[in-house]
């Protein structure tokens, strides 16, 4: 029965939840669930898990652009049909994993994947740069300060050698969010790309009455920069809001709540780079990423400035860090003043925290190292 717009509730099925994951497992996974003994990375992008029953499962991991067409998914299904009895999975970083139950099946599977050109690059395992967790950008969202798919493509093109190899000290997680809602993993990634604004919102007094719940816009501001105000529209006095531009830090929260307060601006908007976050508990506790580059322009379509900064950070890290050390652990071990020196990133006042609990982030010790950055002040 088709949907009848006149009787929307008739024959309506709801609250089914997702399908049970067990229905879609490859037989070898289903049979050995909870019995895995150990695993090995055979080569970049290829894993083997060995069960206590002696069964093995070989996993081939491929990069994916996350934003894909149905034809692309059908290609994935074709590969899965040909080699994996129709089974396939996606990872939490939006890579694709094909699983086979015998080593001799890995070679043909890899051959097939190579036959699709650059659609399914194999890699993303071990101490590599795996896929970039990213957001909507200009493809679909209304609050972005930069694009998502574009910069991700530009950065992954540049770092492709690190996707297909495992030559870094530890895995480097890169994430992108197109505004500081930070949908995804930006606040806790080794290297994070974040869209930022640099101009306060513009208030559309003519629309605000009908489309805005004004108290929500006022409460949305983390700095109390918005207050209720009166304005005259077509000779009539209306309720609206006023923004104290000196207090505004361009977060865009008010626009999220109130469509009459847009703030996107082609020159003002751009990218900030944060580094040093992680979510795992291995060796050190999870960390938040910290701001190191306050602004890079939105240079479409290849974002060369952003790509260059990220490669610099990655190479300085690869050179300086010890084995198993994540970017944040490296930066904290050598000291952030050394991090700025090693990566040749100019330190700006924008990196100095000035929000509420800022005091704890300042240096309350005489322990620091003289660097090229401090030389300017101590001459």
């Amino acid at each position: 029965m088709g949907y009848d717009p006149k009787n929307p509730m008739e024959g309506r099925i709801t609250d089914l939840g997702p399908k049970y994951y067990g229905d879609m497992l490859p037989p070898v996974i289903k049979e050995n669930k909870g019995k895995w003994l150990y695993h090995e990375i055979l080569e970049p992008g290829v894993l083997v898990h060995v069960s206590e029953t002696g069964a093995k499962v070989f996993t081939v991991r491929c990069g994916s652009p996350r934003l894909v067409t149905v034809s692309y998914v059908r290609d994935v299904c074709d590969v899965a049909d040909k080699h994996c009895d129709g089974h396939v999975r996606w990872t939490t970083r939006n890579n694709i994993e094909f699983m086979v139950d015998a080593e001799e099946k890995v070679g043909p599977l890899k051959e097939t994947l190579k036959g699709y050109g650059n659609s399914f690059p194999i890699g993303g395992t071990g101490a590599s740069v795996s896929n970039i967790v990213h957001t909507q950008g200009w493809v679909h969202c209304h609050t972005p300060a930069t694009d998502a798919s574009g910069p991700v493509k530009a950065v992954m093109d540049d770092l492709f050698e690190y996707f297909t190899s495992m030559k870094l000290p530890a895995q480097v997680r890169i994430a992108l969010a197109c505004c500081l809602n930070m949908c995804g993993a930006v606040h806790a990634s080794d290297i994070a790309i974040l869209g930022i604004h640099r101009t306060p919102p513009m208030i559309d007094h003519e629309r605000i009455t009908g489309v805005c719940e004004i108290p929500l816009a006022i409460a949305a501001c983390p700095l109390g920069a918005i207050k209720p105000a009166k304005a005259e529209v077509n000779g009539e006095e209306i309720k609206t809001v006023k923004v104290n531009n000196e207090r505004c830090m361009f977060c865009g929260n008010c626009y999220t709540m109130c469509p009459a307060m847009p703030l996107a601006d082609p020159e003002g908007d751009g990218i900030a780079i944060l580094v040093g976050g992680k979510v795992s508990n291995a060796k050190s506790a999870p960390k938040f990423s910290k701001l190191v580059v306050p602004f890079l322009p939105n240079t479409t379509p290849r974002w060369p400035e952003t790509v260059e900064v990220i490669r610099n950070i990655l190479e300085a890290y690869a050179k300086g860090a010890k084995k198993y050390e994540r970017v944040g652990e490296w930066a904290e071990r050598i000291g952030w003043e050394k991090f700025f020196e090693e990566t040749k990133i100019p330190f700006t006042d924008k990196s100095i925290d000035d929000y509420r609990l800022a005091y704890d982030t300042w240096r309350t010790t005489a322990q620091f190292k003289f660097t090229s950055h401090t030389a300017a002040y101590t001459k």
Partner: protein
């Protein structure tokens, strides 16, 4: 922006069919129009109670009430509100009451 005509009266609406001018344009005729697009057969006293509660709260506070407040003031649990307004309190009831479109990460 689009204009909707119903029983000879024109309303300015956005792409989701919410009134752009809010209370200024709202009337019983608007309720009758939304009733059709939301798949509601008849406006009962219970529907009216929800609409009145929303409008009263909006007039007093400048915002739509939180779902829990709506449930508390009308006495209808969320389940009942969905039975009355299949699209829910935001897309259904607020639209019918002429409140602004809900915003944020929805």
């Amino acid at each position: 922006m689009a204009t909707i005509e119903h029983n000879g009266k024109a309303y300015e609406v956005d792409e989701d069919g919410f009134l752009l001018k809010g209370a200024e344009d709202w009337d019983e005729n608007w309720v009758d129009y939304v009733k059709g697009v939301e798949g509601i057969a008849d406006i009962t006293d219970e529907h009216q109670k929800v609409i009145d509660a929303l409008q009263e709260y909006y007039k007093k506070n400048g915002i739509a009430p939180m779902v829990r407040i709506l449930s508390k003031t009308t006495g209808f649990p969320l389940k009942r509100i969905y039975e009355l307004f299949p699209s829910g309190p935001g897309k259904g009831a607020c639209k019918m009451a002429g409140l602004p479109k809900p915003t944020g990460c929805v």
